[in-house]
C-alpha cells in the first residue's frame, strides 16, 4: 500500500569514521587532562606495564599477517603478470644498449668525430668498425643492429647486411701475408694464445688484445679451441695497427719487435676504401651521425618517434610531414573514445533509468538483455557488425529495398570511423549501463515527487534533482568506457579499416609485425600516461570519491 519505498539508513545518524576520529581526539584530550599530577602525559600503559601502543600493535600483528597471507597469491600473481611486464615495457621504451654492445670499439672511436663536420670519420674509426662488424657478423648480430638503426635512418639495415657479407673478404690479408712472410710461426694459433697471456704483450698491443679477447670469447662460446683455429685477417690488421701506433715497445715477445721493425715498410690497405668498396654509403656522414646519436645506452629516440619527431645527428627535429602518423593516431584515438563515451551516455542513460524504475522482476529480465553481449564472444559481435554495416550488408540492403538509398550509392558504414564508433559503442554500452543503473537504484523516487510537490515541472525535477544525483554513475561509466576504448584493439582492427584504427592497432603492429618493440613500448607508455592523465583530470573535475560502481 505505502507506495513510497521506505528509505534505507539515515546517513546523518550513522557513525562515520570521522566520528571515530573525533572521539579518539577527545579521548586523548581527556587522558591528557587526567594525567597524574598534571605532568605531561607519558605513553599510556597496558595492564602489564608495556606501552599500550606496542601491545595494540602486537595484538593486531597476527590479524595483519593473516590478511596478508590471504591476499598473497593475488599479490604475487599481479606482481608477476602485471606489474613486472609493465615495468619491463616502460624500460624497453628507453633502452638502447644494442649499439654500444655490438659496436663497442666504434662507439669509443666515434667520440671525437664531429657529426656536424660533413665528412666521414678517419681511418681508425673504420678500423674499429672493421673489428666490431667482423665479430658481430660471426655472432650474426649485425643484422639486428641494422634493423634497429634502420628505424632511425632508412637504408642502414641493408648497409649492414651487405657489409657483413663482405667484411670477411676485405683485402686485409695483405697484412697477414706480410707478417707471416717475416715469421711463419704467426700462423700458429698456439703462439697467439701464449703471447696474449703476457701482460706486457697485452699492454704493447692494446687494440689487438681487446679484439683477441672478444674473438676468443666468441670461439669458446661456439665450443672451439682458440689454440687450434686459424688466426683471422682481422687480428693481423689490429696487430699491424697497434705496432704502427706504439712500436711494440715493452713487449715481452721478441717476434713482436721483429715485426715492429718492419712495419714501416709494409704495404697498407685503407679500411675506409674497403668499406666504401663494400657500400659507398659508408662515406655518408649521416650514417655515422646516426650511429653516434644512438650510441648511448638509453635514448629518447623511441619516444621522439612516438610523437613524430626524430633524433638526428643534428639534434631533435620533426619528422618529414609524410612520415607523421602517431600524433594523428593519438588524437584520433582520444577523439573517438570521447565520441564513444558520449554515445554510451546518450544511449545508456535512458536504459538505466528504465531499469532502475521498473519492478525488480521486469528489471532483472531486461538486465539479462543488457548483459547478453557480455556472454557472446567479442569477435562474434564485431563480425556481426561487419555483416550489418558492409555495403552489401543487412542495413544497406534494407535501405536499398526501401528505396531510401540508390543501389549505386550504398552507404559506406564500415572500415571507417563510423563503423568503429558504432561497433564499440555497442560493445562498451554495458559498462556504462551497469554503474548508471546501480547509482540510479539508490536514488529514491521520493526525490522526484518532492521536487514536483515543490512546484517543479517534470523536466526541472529531473534536471535539478535527479540528474545531479546520477552524475556519479555517469562519471564511473565514462571512466570505464573511455579507458577501455582508448586501449581497444580487436574491434577497430576488424571494422576500422584505415581511418578507424586506434593507436593500439599500431602498437600491435610494432609488436608482432615490425618487431620494433622499443617503439611499441614508447607508444604504450604514452598511452598509459594519457589514461592516467585522464583519470587525474577526472578526479579534479568530478572527484574520484564521487564514482560509484554500486
Amino acid at each position: 500500500m505505502s507506495d513510497l519505498k521506505s528509505t534505507g539508513q539515515q546517513t546523518a545518524d550513522a557513525p562515520t569514521p570521522e566520528d571515530a576520529l573525533h572521539e579518539a581526539a577527545s579521548l586523548d584530550a581527556r587522558e591528557a587532562a587526567h594525567a597524574p599530577g598534571g605532568k605531561a602525559a607519558g605513553p599510556v600503559l597496558a595492564a602489564d606495564g608495556t606501552p599500550l601502543k606496542r601491545s595494540l600493535a602486537r595484538a593486531l600483528r597476527r590479524q595483519k599477517m593473516r590478511a596478508l597471507a590471504l591476499i598473497a597469491p593475488l599479490l604475487i600473481f599481479v606482481l608477476l603478470t602485471f606489474i613486472a611486464p609493465i615495468a619491463d615495457m616502460l624500460f624497453r621504451s628507453v633502452e638502447n644498449q644494442i649499439v654500444s654492445e655490438t659496436l663497442p670499439e666504434t662507439v669509443v672511436a666515434l667520440k671525437d668525430w664531429d657529426s656536424e663536420g660533413g665528412v666521414p670519420p678517419a681511418d681508425p674509426v673504420f678500423a674499429a668498425l672493421y673489428v666490431d662488424l667482423f665479430i658481430a657478423e660471426a655472432q650474426k648480430l649485425h643484422t639486428r643492429l641494422g634493423t634497429r638503426l634502420n628505424y632511425e635512418k632508412t637504408g642502414v639495415s641493408s648497409l649492414f647486411r651487405k657489409t657483413g657479407r663482405r667484411v670477411g673478404r676485405f683485402d686485409t690479408d695483405t697484412y697477414t701475408d706480410q707478417i707471416t712472410a717475416l715469421d711463419p710461426s704467426w700462423e700458429d694459433p698456439a703462439t697467439w694464445v701464449a703471447m696474449m697471456e703476457s701482460d706486457a704483450n697485452r699492454a704493447a698491443l692494446p687494440f689487438t688484445a681487446r679484439s683477441w679477447d672478444r674473438w676468443t670469447a666468441y670461439q669458446l662460446s661456439e665450443g672451439d679451441d682458440p689454440a687450434k683455429e686459424d688466426i683471422e685477417d682481422v687480428l693481423f690488421t689490429t696487430l699491424y695497427l697497434d705496432l704502427r701506433e706504439t712500436g711494440g715497445t715493452g713487449a715481452a715477445d721478441a717476434r713482436i719487435a721483429q715485426i715492429a721493425a718492419a712495419v714501416g715498410d709494409f704495404d697498407t690497405v685503407s679500411l675506409s676504401e674497403q668499406f666504401a668498396d663494400a657500400d659507398k654509403d659508408w662515406l655518408d656522414p649521416e650514417v655515422w651521425g646516426t650511429i653516434k646519436a644512438f650510441a648511448p645506452n638509453y635514448t629518447p629516440g623511441y619516444f621522439l618517434n612516438s610523437v613524430d619527431m626524430q633524433k638526428t645527428p643534428h639534434g631533435i627535429e620533426a619528422r618529414p610531414e609524410n612520415q607523421q602518423i602517431y600524433m594523428k593516431l593519438f588524437k584520433r584515438t582520444i577523439f573517438m573514445s570521447m565520441v564513444i563515451t558520449l554515445s554510451c551516455i546518450m544511449l545508456g542513460y535512458p536504459v538505466a533509468w528504465i531499469l532502475a524504475n521498473l519492478p525488480t522482476r521486469t528489471a532483472n529480465l531486461l538486465m539479462i538483455l543488457v548483459l547478453l553481449p557480455f556472454w557472446t564472444s567479442l569477435l562474434v559481435r564485431t563480425s556481426a557488425w561487419k555483416v550489418m554495416l558492409q555495403q552489401q550488408g543487412v542495413i544497406n540492403d534494407t535501405l536499398v529495398w526501401l528505396g531510401i538509398v540508390g543501389d549505386a550509392d550504398r552507404l559506406v558504414m564500415i572500415n571507417n570511423q563510423f563503423g568503429t564508433i558504432v561497433a564499440m559503442t555497442h560493445i562498451l554500452l554495458p559498462f556504462m549501463i551497469l554503474p548508471l543503473y546501480s547509482v540510479m537504484q539508490t536514488i529514491q523516487p521520493t526525490y522526484l515527487r518532492a521536487a514536483k510537490s515543490l512546484g517543479a515541472t517534470n523536466w526541472t525535477a529531473f534536471w535539478r534533482v535527479y540528474f545531479p544525483q546520477s552524475v556519479p554513475g555517469i562519471g564511473a561509466g565514462s571512466v570505464l568506457v573511455c579507458i577501455l576504448s582508448i586501449g581497444y584493439y580487436i574491434t577497430p582492427e576488424i571494422v576500422g579499416g584505415t581511418t578507424g584504427t586506434f593507436i593500439s592497432n599500431r602498437i600491435a603492429y610494432h609488436i608482432s609485425s615490425s618487431l620494433n618493440w622499443g617503439l611499441a613500448a614508447a607508444l604504450g607508455s604514452i598511452l598509459l600516461a594519457a589514461v592516467m592523465l585522464l583519470y587525474w583530470v577526472y578526479d579534479k573535475i568530478v572527484g574520484i570519491d564521487n564514482v560509484k560502481l554500486g
Partner: protein, 366 residues
Amino acid sequence: MADTSSNDAFVEFERVQKSYDGETLVVKDLNLTMPKGEFLTMLGPSGSGKTTCLMMLAGFETATHGEIKLDGRPINNIPPHKRGIGMVFQNYALFPHMTINENLSFPLEVRKIGKSDREAKVKRALDMVEMGAFGGRRPAQLSGGQQQRIALARALVFEPELVLMDEPLGALDKQLREKMQFEITDLAHRLGITVVYVTHDQTEALTMSDRVAVFDDGRIQQIAPPDELYESPQNSFVAQFIGENNTLEGTVKELSDKLALVQLDDGEVIDCMPVNVNAVGERTKVSIRPERVEFQKDRLKEGAHLLKATVKEFIYMGDVFRTRLSVAGNDDFIIKSRNAPDQVRLKPGEQIEIGWLPEDCRALDA
C-alpha cells in the same frame, strides 16, 4: 459519515475510488470534507488506504473514480507541480546534493521569485523552525530531527495553504517525536494552514489533530475529534484501534434508546449503551475502556450488573496499576487503576466482582 458538505469546504473528496490493478479497490467510496485551517489526521493500519488518499490529493496518484476538489476547484487533472500543495515526506526527501539554503530556495526558484525575496523567505522559514544557523550545511550533516525541521520549512517556505504530511515523524525516536508533534501543531495553528497528516501512530493522531479520520479496508470508519473518537467509537474496529480496549462478545437481549441488555456467551447479563446494534437477538461486541472498569462496589451505581472476575496478573507501571483479569471467558480483560495512596493492589488468584457505568460500555457491531 454525515455529509458535512458546506460552503467553506477547502478540501473535498467526493465518492473517490482507487484501484491499482483493476481488480481490488484500495480506496472504496471515500467522502471527506475539510474546512480551511483544520488539522486532519488520517489514521489507520498499513494497507488501509490512507497514504493512497494523500497521494491522490498531492497528485501523484489519480483517482479511478470520483472527484477531489481543492478550494472548490476540481484538481483531478491538475499535475502535482501546479497544485501548490506543500508536502513533507516520510523520509524527508531533502535533496542530498543541495545545501539547506538551496533546498529551501528550490520551490521559490521554480516559482521565479527574485533573489532578494527568495533569501528573505528562506531565512524566515529557517528561523521559524529554529534552524537559521544551518543554511550552509548539507542534509547528510544534520541529525534526523534537524532534517525533519528542514523538510517542514521547505514544505512551508512557498506559503502553501494546504500541507500534506506522510508519517513525517516515523523515523524519529520517541522523545524527539513528542517534541516535534507539539512543534508541528503549534506551527500549523500559528500559520493558519490546513494540514492533512497521515500516521499509523494513534497517540500522534490523538494529540495533534483537530479531527481524526480512522481508515480501514479502504474506507473511513469514523471521522471525529480525538476525544469523541476515544470515548464514543462508532464501531468495534475504531474501539479496538484507538487506545486500549476490552471486548466481550454476546447477544442483545433487550434494546431501548439508552440501554441494551447483553447476554454474554457464559450467560451473564450486562448493561450497555447501544451504539451499533439494531435488533434484539443480534450478535454484538461490547467495548469497555480499561480505566472505566470499577471493582470497588461503593463507586458503582445502585443496581448495576456485576461480573465475576479472577485476577490473573498484576503489573505495576508506576503511575497506574494494570491488572489482567479473566472475565466471562476472556483471559485478556485489562483494568487500569490510578496509583493513589488508598488504591487496592490486587493479587493473582483473587476473586473479585467488576462493573461499570452503562454509558461507558458500548454495544458495537460484531
